[in-house]
């Protein structure tokens, strides 16, 4: 009988570690990347995102662990032997070469015929809307154009994996949103495998198939974007993902009643912890709904209003002194002013329970 050959994944990381002196940059990352997907490594500055990508590319040598590309253990291979493309956060265009020569460089090194190089560079330039910069040096290009040239230089090859290290961080907000949508569309249409590192949770939520949450070199959670948002592994992740930030309130589950900020509430749809306990309740701003005073779970006084366009971020203070932030549709918030007393209804289904000792999410009883 012929054994079935397992289809190899484009990228697998196995216990990857790297320290710089006493500083642990990456503390044992294990990760499988499915073909044709966008994996986002999300983390604050210094979380180990760039180090992880550079180890995949072969630009940093791991202390331990394996980098497996398309089924081959290439942990010790030279960068050029890995067939990996990387877009650096500073783009790293060749400053002395034109847009065309920047994009053509990997093809020239692969000794492709001149007509083929010409054809592929032109095609990718049209795809990325940059035919007009092919004859220009990087220093004459705008930020967005440089970004696209860097992208084109990666896309012109057919690498196993694309590594993108904060590729949009140099752009202004509008362009960043436009380009990230384009990046996502390209990745989907061409079926490429992308690994993108970013400190921006909104970018991560917007483009990822899967998010790897990294903190101080450790993988905290690997989840689909909505799962990361709805069920963050711990308080820090909950705070990192979402704006305005999640509200954290002291709470207790007695087994029958939910005590929130000193007030006993009917549990309703609350997915309670398996056993009675004190916990830190995480409540996303959108799970707090303003209503007429006396009609909600709490009465609260509006202490600040921050228009966000279609929403208003409202900061309220409970009688016990606890501050909460909630978001309400701008149209419905016309009646609020600072000092107004409101009722606040707590959406039980969105309530998260975190262990106050270690900050980890307490999984609800089955």
């Amino acid at each position: 009988m012929i054994p079935e050959i397992p289809r190899s994944l484009p990228l697998q990381l196995n216990g990857l570690r790297k320290s710089y002196g006493a500083t642990v940059a990456v503390a044992g990352t294990t990760l499988d990347v499915e073909p044709g997907t966008m994996t986002v490594i999300l983390g604050a500055a210094g979380a180990g995102k760039t180090t992880t990508l550079k180890m995949i590319a072969g630009l940093e040598t791991p202390d331990a662990g394996q980098v497996i590309l398309a089924g081959h253990d290439l942990t010790a291979a030279e960068p050029r032997a890995r067939n990996v493309a990387m877009i650096f956060d500073n783009l790293a265009l060749y400053p002395d070469r034109s847009g065309f020569d920047n994009i053509a460089y990997p093809l020239k090194l692969a000794r492709r015929a001149a007509p083929e190089i010409e054809e592929r560079v032109r095609r990718i330039a049209v795809l990325l809307k940059i035919p007009h910069v092919l004859g220009r040096l990087p220093k004459t290009m705008s930020g967005g154009e440089k970004q696209r040239v860097a992208l084109a230089r990666a896309l012109v090859r057919e690498p196993t994996v694309f590594l993108l290290d904060e590729p949009l961080s140099s752009l202004d907000a509008m362009l960043r949103i436009e380009l990230r949508a384009e990046l996502r569309r390209l990745q989907r249409e061409q079926g490429h495998t992308f690994v993108l590192a970013t400190p921006d949770f909104q970018e991560a939520l917007a483009v990822a198939d899967r998010i790897v949450m990294l903190r101080a070199g450790r993988v905290v959670q690997i989840a689909a974007p909505q799962d990361l948002y709805d069920a963050p592994a711990d308080i820090e992740t909950a705070r990192f993902v979402g704006a305005p930030q999640i509200n954290l309130v002291d709470a207790e589950w007695t087994g029958g009643a939910l005590i929130l900020a000193g007030q006993s509430l009917a549990p309703g749809a609350f997915r309670a912890p398996p056993a009675p306990c004190a916990f830190t309740a995480g409540i996303r701003p959108e799970h707090l709904t303003p209503c007429a005073a006396g009609q909600g779970d709490f009465d609260a006084t509006v202490s600040d209003l921050e228009p966000l366009g279609h929403l208003v971020a409202v900061t309220v203070t409970l009688s016990a002194g606890t501050e909460l932030r909630l978001t309400a549709p701008a149209a419905g918030a016309a009646g609020f002013g600072i000092g107004t007393t409101l009722g606040i209804a707590v959406g039980r289904a969105g309530l998260l329970a975190f262990d106050p000792a270690d900050g980890r999410l307490i999984p609800p009883a089955a």
Partner: protein, 286 residues
């Protein structure tokens, strides 16, 4: 700040500075063109009374000066000029080649401690006289004394800390991602440095080469103590233009000094456009 934005006071200060800097060069060129009677005339003769090229002729024909009634000098300057070219060009090329490799290694691959700069640069903390004598003894034992190989070895040893450190600063300024991009695009590590790193620090490379060449070209002490009869360099030859009857031959010395200046001026002019930094502007975000 463009030249037009200089105030009158700033222009005057620059003019004074320029005069102070340029005066010795003016004086040496004038002296090189003076006949022996003008050399140390009192009061000083500013412009040659009868401009002559006899001083230059004496460099290549030791008897030429006899036309002015002075005894000739013992030897032509030609071997010294050739010796200077040989020693300075070879030593500079070696120092830059080794320094460039060290600079890239230190900048990109070495774990530097706080003592690394000291270890590299400490050789320069000693006065040359302090290391000249040990070198003479070592070179006597190894038969390197009075050879160009020995002189070149010393020049490389003395200038290598400078070339390494200067070139390292230029490599440090270049984002490593540019050469890493080349490695991912298909270059080997070595070829990524050769084809990407080095061309991008061309300006710094030229400036460092020029600096090291000047050091070697004008070096006097090692050349003096390590040369007997087989080798010579221009600075050593300059010191030899002293005769028993006429004292120091200032005009001939000046002529050799002018000859020695020419390659530096030509080289400086040729690479001046490369001396400005700015090759990497626009390639990276900052």
């Amino acid at each position: 700040m463009g030249p037009k934005s200089l105030t009158l006071a700033q222009r005057l200060i620059l003019l004074v500075a320029l005069t102070v800097t340029m005066f010795p060069i003016f004086w040496i060129v004038m002296t090189a063109l003076k006949p022996p009677t003008d050399w140390n005339a009192a009061p000083a003769v500013w412009l040659p009374s009868e401009p002559t090229l006899v001083n230059f002729a004496t460099l290549f024909d030791p008897d030429a000066i006899k036309a002015y009634g002075l005894s000739g000098v013992s030897q032509p300057a030609t071997p010294a000029i050739l010796g200077s070219i040989l020693a300075s060009v070879s030593a500079t090329a070696l120092s830059i080649a080794i320094g460039l490799a060290s600079a890239i290694g230190l900048s990109r691959y070495a774990k530097m401690t706080k003592w690394t700069p000291l270890m590299i640069l400490s050789g320069r903390m000693f006065p040359p006289a302090a290391i000249a004598v040990p070198f003479v003894i070592m070179f006597s034992a190894t038969r390197l004394i009075d050879t160009y190989a020995g002189l070149i070895a010393i020049y490389v040893a003395v200038t290598l800390p400078f070339s390494t450190w200067m070139l390292k600063s230029f490599v440090d300024d270049l984002p490593r991602e540019i050469e890493q991009a080349a490695m991912l695009d298909g270059r080997s590590r070595l070829m990524a440095h050769v084809t990407v790193t080095i061309p991008l620090i061309k300006g710094g490379l030229f400036a460092t080469t020029m600096f090291i060449f000047i050091l070697n070209w004008s070096e006097f002490m090692f050349a003096l103590v390590l040369s007997y009869s087989n080798i010579s360099t221009i600075p050593v030859q300059l010191a030899k233009y002293v005769t028993a009857t006429a004292g120091t031959l200032y005009g001939v010395q000046a002529a050799l000094a002018v000859v020695a200046m020419i390659p530096l001026i030509v080289a400086g002019y040729a690479i001046q456009s490369h001396l400005a930094r700015g090759m990497t502007f626009g390639a990276i975000k900052r």
